[in-house]
């Protein structure tokens, strides 16, 4: 029986190792389902059969590599996976900067590179032939945020007046901040201040003071875990209470976020790509999450669900290609057309455009209420109404 | 005109005056001894002449050119060589390489510098130690090496700070011979020394400092019979 080697490059050590571990688990689950099937997930492709049917039941074998959040290491590992391990495709690499260099190696070697979760918009502006991204990118996410605000205004008559942005000053935060600045006027919102800070900071006092001085109604925030937690604590300490904090995923969806902050995490709204309460409209989510939870004692997050989906999409393409020839797989990927109902994501489906970007992806927004993430947008999928405005710190119980 | 003219030099460290209004000269080809009790300010004066300190007041000229306040490397280029009270040899180099480095002020080519260095090592009776790493030489060996190194910069004036300390009488004699040889080369010497057997017989002139001030100047014989000098320095023994 044939084994199909798929290379996987993630940050398994270093500062992003925490995420890397989750992603690894998600991929292992996906591979396990593809290879050995799983009960109770009828909508999930490959869940019934064994292996890839068009390749005589060939099994997916994952070859993991650690890029330590270092772009050069990412490229080196890509090179090794391709020439040493002879992988037929690569999945990776979470950190956008590493995805940039590693996919460059795959491009030159002519090996498909499937990127399930890097959000830098620039990645699909390179006109690569072998690069495919299933997740929506920052551009879309920022659009989503403003669409949400417009709809909120149109449907519920809530209009946030003054908007400020707060973002970490790395690749991701900076790109998000810039897009927000660009789109705010398009949607006719007033952006009164932009504040950026280094993610490895020890305190956020001056940042919060600067925000406070701007007296905003709404904060658009892009932070990683440690700084997201720190920022919330500083908000409370300095009594900074805007009407809404609309965060951009990452730190705000880390498992530790609610756990650490407890009640202080309440009412935060954050962009997501995934939420467990979506299971109400899409049972597949719960079914697969149960499998995940049974195996690793953790729930899916936006990152792990996307990575899980990434491998599913790749497996689907390899299966349709009916071959392990890179060119055949690439063609199959380009022709991908998966329906939303077969995904655990709240997407309309997966279909790549000429740049390799999935055009059917979509973000959602969740709000923390009662210690849970509740989907609040798109309104069609919402499980709760938006709480607006956030109660002031001193008025909370 | 004298080679070195020190005129009215004072040097203060915060509240402490290490040199006060010191004036003397060193003629071409002269050996001048600079003596005085501990803490009299001899090393400080040295440092002023060699550019390591800028005097608080006064002027220093070498061959008519003002040198006070110039950085040490400029002083060295103008012809002031020196040794340190605590020998500061380049410990990662051999004795020969130490001297070569100094020779390079004039001989950029390594082979020429080596030949030059070997000459100076021979001059200071150090040929035997040429290939010994300076770091594993005794303190007194390092002092002699420092003399050879200073000579290799071809100074017109050589400042020697206590190079005879820690030598036994017969070694002092050797050292004295070296100093005389240096003078034969037309190099003037300003020598700080407590080992009077080493300096008194050869000095053309002795300058005595006490608490920063010059208290006497003259031939060795004059100085050693000077009341003030005996009282402050030589002791009544």
């Amino acid at each position: 029986q044939q084994e199909i080697k798929v290379g996987v490059i993630y940050p398994l050590t270093g500062s992003a190792a925490s995420v890397g571990g989750e992603l690894r688990n998600a991929l292992e689950l996906a591979a396990d389902i593809i290879n050995n099937g799983a009960a109770g997930v009828p909508d999930l492709p490959f869940s019934q059969g064994k292996g890839l049917p068009n390749l005589k039941g060939a099994k997916i074998k994952l070859v993991f590599a650690d890029h330590q959040a270092n772009p050069q290491t990412g490229a080196t590992e890509a090179e090794r996976l391709i020439t040493q391990e002879k992988v037929v495709a690569i999945v990776g690499a979470y950190n956008s900067a590493v995805t940039a260099t590693a996919s460059q190696v795959a491009e030159r070697a002519g090996i498909p590179f499937l990127n399930p979760e890097s959000s830098s918009a620039s990645l699909t502006q390179r006109n690569f032939k072998w690069f495919f991204r299933t997740t929506p990118h920052d551009d879309l996410f920022v659009h989503n945020a403003f669409e949400f605000l417009s709809e909120l205004q149109a449907k519920k008559g809530i209009k946030p007046g003054r908007i400020v942005t707060l973002n970490e000053n790395g690749l991701w935060g900076t790109e998000s901040g810039k897009l927000q600045a660009k789109l705010a006027p398009d949607y006719k919102y007033e952006l009164v201040k932009q504040v950026s800070y280094p993610a490895k900071t020890t305190q956020l006092t001056s940042e919060v003071q600067a925000l406070k001085a701007a007296n905003p109604n709404l904060v658009l925030q892009s932070s990683y875990t440690a700084d997201a937690i720190l920022s919330m604590k500083t908000y409370k300490e300095l009594g900074f209470s805007p009407d809404m904090i609309l965060a951009n995923n990452a730190g705000f969806t880390d498992t530790e976020f609610i756990k650490t902050l407890g009640k202080d995490a309440e009412y935060i709204i954050t962009r997501e790509v995934f939420a467990l309460d979506l299971a109400k409209t899409k049972p597949l989510i719960k079914q697969v999450n149960d499998l995940f939870n049974a195996k690793y004692k953790i729930n899916f997050t936006g990152n792990s669900s996307r990575t899980f989906t990434g491998l599913m999409v790749l497996a689907d393409a390899i299966n349709r290609a009916g071959s392990t020839e890179p060119e055949a797989i690439r063609k199959a990927l380009a022709a991908t057309n998966i329906e939303g109902k077969n995904l655990i994501m709240p997407w309309k489906g997966v279909k790549f455009d000429a740049t390799g970007q999935n055009t059917l992806g979509q973000g959602i927004l969740v709000q923390v209420v009662g210690g849970q993430y509740n989907t609040v947008w798109p309104f069609a999928m919402a499980s709760r109404d938006v709480v607006w405005p956030m109660p002031k710190w001193d008025q909370r119980k | 005109m004298s080679l070195l003219e020190v005129t009215g030099v004072s040097k203060r460290f915060g509240g402490l005056t290490a040199n006060e209004d010191v004036t003397f000269t060193v003629g071409t080809g002269q050996i001048v001894g600079l003596i005085g009790p501990n803490g009299a300010g001899k090393t400080t004066l040295f440092n002023c002449v060699a550019g390591f300190f800028a005097p608080s007041e006064g002027t220093i000229t070498l061959d008519g050119q003002r040198i006070e306040g110039l950085p040490p490397e400029r002083c060295a280029r103008m012809g002031v060589g020196r040794t340190f009270q605590i020998a500061r040899t380049f410990t990662s180099m051999t004795a020969c390489e130490n001297v070569m480095t100094a020779s390079m002020l004039h001989e950029r080519k390594v082979s020429d510098a080596r030949a030059d260095a070997e000459r100076w090592l021979g001059f200071a009776n150090l040929t035997r130690l040429a290939d010994k790493p300076a770091g594993s030489m005794t303190i007194s060996e390092q002092r002699r090496l420092a003399v050879a190194r200073a000579l290799a910069t071809r100074p017109r004036l050589l400042l020697m700070d206590e190079v005879m300390a820690g030598l036994n009488p017969s070694e002092v004699k050797e050292a004295v011979d070296v100093v005389l040889k240096i003078r034969e080369h037309g190099i003037s010497c300003l020598v700080v020394e407590h080992v009077l057997e080493g300096i008194m017989p050869i000095a053309d002139k002795i300058v005595v400092l006490d608490r920063g001030r010059k208290i006497a100047e003259g031939t060795p014989a004059e100085v050693s019979s000077d009341e003030a000098v005996i009282h402050a320095y030589l002791g009544d023994a």
């Binding site: 050590t13 270093g14 500062s15 190792a17 925490s18 890397g20 571990g21 000053n169 504040v195 950026s196 800070y197 280094p198 490895k200 900071t201 020890t202 305190q203 956020l204 006092t205 001056s206 940042e207 003071q209 600067a210 406070k212 001085a213 875990t225 440690a226 937690i229 720190l230 604590k233 409370k236 300490e237 300095l238 009594g239 880390d254 498992t255 530790e256 756990k259 650490t260 407890g262 | -």
Partner: protein, 288 residues
């Protein structure tokens, strides 16, 4: 910009500065006595934080209760580290020493990840939490306690160094260990003491930080650069220097961030640092 905001920012700057001071004091101790720059110092801090976390998570012991325990453990860890590793590089070139402590930094991070996973952790609901109003200023309780702790620790160490026989012996060892041995001072004991105290200081800072800062294997990286700046600015080896420089850096960082834009807050600190060194190459209170 209102007066209230400025005053509030200043207060926050002083409080975080005191934490920097506490981290830096440990670093400057080790440096002062041994001339070794401990790159792994941020990891001592990390160990202090984890110790607090586990005592809290497993036995529900409040950080303020476990402070003495953690400080002791870190002290022992510092001594052990000295005896096992540092003792072998005392006479090695400076570069080798840098290399070793650098390796140690990676090692401790790796071990922390191995043992405790790379996840972010935190101590929830400790006895000190929330904020208090002092003179009209809103101050985080944990930060306040941490600040007071930093002042106390600094005072104790300062007294120890300047007014005890052991302190003098430490300084003597620092100056010339062979000469110190000739005075009857056991230099190895002094060195282990320096490592012990250095690590203990970082441990204390770790405990205090754990009450309001997330805990993860790489957390030391957030603090180490600033700690180095503080040690330098204060003058390598000077405890009082580190104390004042810590506060100065904290204040400059938040004020600079507020006035020039937070993205430049590190830049402001670094420029100040380089500027000061230009006029005082030995740091504010270092000895030439």
């Amino acid at each position: 910009m209102t007066f209230e905001i400025l005053a509030q920012t200043l207060a926050s700057g002083v409080l975080i500065g005191l934490i920097y001071a506490l981290v830096a004091i440990g670093l400057t101790m080790i440096f002062g006595v041994m001339d070794i720059v401990n790159f792994a110092h941020g990891e001592f801090l990390m160990l202090g934080m984890y110790s607090t976390f586990w005592l809290f998570a497993l036995y529900a012991l409040d950080p303020m209760l476990t402070l003495p325990l953690t400080v002791l453990m870190l002290f022992a860890f510092g001594v052990l580290l000295y005896k096992l590793l540092i003792v072998r590089i005392i006479n090695a070139p400076m570069l080798t020493q840098i290399f070793t402590t650098f390796g140690l930094m990676y090692l401790l991070r790796g071990v922390a990840q191995f043992l405790w996973k790379p996840d972010f952790r935190s101590v929830e609901n400790s006895a000190v939490a929330g904020t208090v109003k002092v003179l009209g200023l809103q101050l985080g309780q944990p930060q306040l306690v941490a600040g007071v702790g930093a002042v106390l620790v600094t005072a104790v160490i300062w007294y120890f160094l300047n007014h005890t026989r052991l302190g003098a012996a430490l300084e003597a060892t620092a100056a010339d260990k062979d000469a110190a041995r000739l005075m009857g001072i056991d230099s190895h004991r002094m060195f282990s003491l320096a490592w012990g105290i250095g690590a203990a200081c970082a441990g204390a800072a770790g405990v205090l930080l754990a009450t309001f800062f997330p805990i993860f294997p790489d957390v030391g990286a957030n603090f180490i650069l600033l700690a180095f700046v503080v040690v330098n600015l204060g003058g390598f080896g000077s405890v009082t220097g580190a104390f004042w420089a810590g506060i100065l850096v904290g204040v400059i960082e938040v004020m600079g961030g507020l006035l020039l834009g937070p993205q430049y807050k590190l830049a402001v600190v670094l420029v100040l640092f380089l500027g000061v060194l230009m006029f005082r190459p030995q740091g504010l209170m270092g000895k030439a």
